[in-house]
Symmetry: C2
Subunit: 338 residues, 2 copies
DNA sequence: TTGTAAGCGTTATCAG
DNA sequence: CTGATAACGCTTACAA
């Protein structure tokens, strides 16, 4: 079948140890033998079996990535960022999708251990106690990305954008532009980082300037166009006094909300300002162009990969949580009331 | 370090062969020993080393995927489709990005062979002779997705949408709606399937109804917003007689073109109709909503995965190229002239 | 410099 | 049903 190191050794008239040495340049080999071996390797298209290599060296050059859904732009960019680092360092990536289901995530953790990955990058939806525990049991290091642990803080290294601050800044931005009635149209309430944390930032900003939080100005739902549309409808129908601005949990939610407002003939940003979150590809495709909170998921992936690499090298005493910066991007869906 | 089958055997007071048997249920083991072994396995969180398993069984349950860029929505959906099948069948996926660079692709082909993948799904940009040859050398089966071989037809199994027909149908649709001056704003001329093939469909449709192809109505460029914008600009500036409709190589190109037209105060679809390609997420977010050619990349991934699985089972005499259907979606950027 | 041989953690063949 | 033991393909002391 596949040609092995033994075949090469025999054909080149040397020992397998010598072949191994020329492949790995691990010990000096005379130029003569070296050339002879190379020639035979080339001619036979020999590729060392990395399973055998890994079995003995404990080095598989493989790292695992678990994301809920690879077709989601956020995870696509995140994965690309992570992969850019690993590929450069000679690592190969095993990609797994969990649909954000705990059961699936737990299962994948085990499968990846069997595959002998050297480290794991994990992006989840609710990284609860069960999950954290399972990660601690595994014998590879893991870093959490985009989603921090919801019950065990500071136990697992994490790379994330500061959701509280990002939403705080978003509301702050609107406040600075003279808005006082600001609604929150966010993601799922059970989403710890992208749901709860952002809501926290929203509340904090309002409370800080002494504006009482109007609970009927808070609507939570999926990160989808439909949820944005329905959420805006709820906001519209259940408030006699409409907000002058609404912050959202994602650009997709924002665009859904805009659709509803458009249907109702509410003008953006004249009657109401909208602020997205993420800065998705389509933010500048829609009209008016979407003002939003930019998060560089690519950078987040890069940072997470680098952190994992450090852990794999055994570097300990690391900062437990590393933040990636965010930025308010003013485009055309927000208007100043000043 | 990690607990091995030997540790389990010792602790359970049985031979490693017995442990192996209970793990794999490959041969009967008395209920008594079985339970004892299971208990020890649980207690120690034992996970068999799949490298060792693969080394002897030749089964790694790993397949490779090579795409140019995982953050591109097309490849994200494709990958998700493929993964949905593999995960279900107990396979794990090694994901690689090539940036569409030949050198990188060649290198990855080798790395994946070392990793002992059982099969490969390949999405490239230009699958030329060199690449096909390299694939044939590898000892795993491969299926091409989204991009057919540009020089060696029918040598490697392929799953793709029919680009010639899709663009033919797109132009046909416009023709049926009374358009006669139809421009083509497509992807790169060196992109075989998504560039050349689509252009071919465009020409064919026009020629078929006896409309001479106006070369200055053909503009090719990247699959980007900017290229769409610039391309439309070229079309606008270099033609005294504007087209009444333009077919594009992708939705992103279409939206770029729309932006330019909007700047020029050309109304869509009243002055000019635009037809996208792909049916991206944002097609319904923009205004007017984009008419487009829908391709289900998810389904394409699913189909490709299934085909690869069949090849892995040794089923030969397969159809060499399998097509995934496309569909014209009429929304608001196209107008009937009838 | 080069070769021999002992593993790495499993599965699989053979006896028993 | 159970247990030795020989692979699997490679790396790495240990010798020569």
């Amino acid at each position: 079948m596949a040609v092995t190191i033994e075949d090469i050794a025999r054909e080149a008239g040397v020992s397998i140890a010598t072949v191994s040495r020329v492949i790995n340049k691990t010990k000096p080999v005379s130029a003569q033998l070296r050339d002879r071996v190379y020639e035979v390797i080339e001619r036979n298209h020999f590729k060392p079996n990395s399973l055998a290599q890994g079995l003995i060296t404990k080095k598989t050059n493989t790292i695992g990535i678990i994301v809920p859904d690879i077709s989601n732009a956020v995870f696509g960019k995140l994965t690309k960022g992570m992969n850019s680092i690993f590929a450069k360092q000679g690592y190969t990536v095993v990609l797994c999708e969990s649909q954000g289901k705990l059961e699936k995530e737990l299962q994948l953790l085990g499968i990846l251990e069997e595959k002998q990955i050297e480290g794991l990058l994990f992006a989840g939806v609710d990284v609860n106690h069960t999950l954290v525990n399972a990660m601690l049991q595994r014998d590879y290091p893991v870093v959490l990305v985009t989603q921090e642990a919801s019950e065990d803080e500071g136990v697992i290294n994490t790379v994330i954008h500061n959701n509280v601050e990002a939403m705080y800044d978003a509301v702050r931005f609107l406040l600075d532009n003279g808005h006082r009635r600001i609604a929150y149209l966010g993601g799922p309430r059970n989403d710890f980082s992208s749901g709860k944390k952002r809501l926290k930032g929203y509340r904090r900003a309002l409370e800080e300037v002494g504006i009482p939080v109007n609970e009927s100005y808070i609507v939570q739902g999926e990160f989808s166009f439909e949820a944005g549309y329905q959420g805006m409808k709820t906001l519209y129908e259940e408030n006699s006094k409409l907000p002058t601005a609404v912050v959202t949990g994602s650009d997709v939610i924002a665009v859904g909300a805009m659709q509803y407002l458009d249907n109702m003939r509410v003008r953006i940003p004249d009657d109401i300002s909208i602020l997205g979150f993420d800065d998705s590809e389509f933010a500048t495709y829609i009209k008016p162009e979407l003002s939003t909170v930019r998060i560089s998921y690519y950078d987040e992936g890069v940072k997470a990969a680098k952190m994992l690499l450090r852990m794999m090298k055994g570097e300990t005493d690391l900062p437990v949580t590393e933040y990636v910066s965010h930025k308010i991007i003013r485009r055309s869906t927000t208007k100043s009331l000043n």
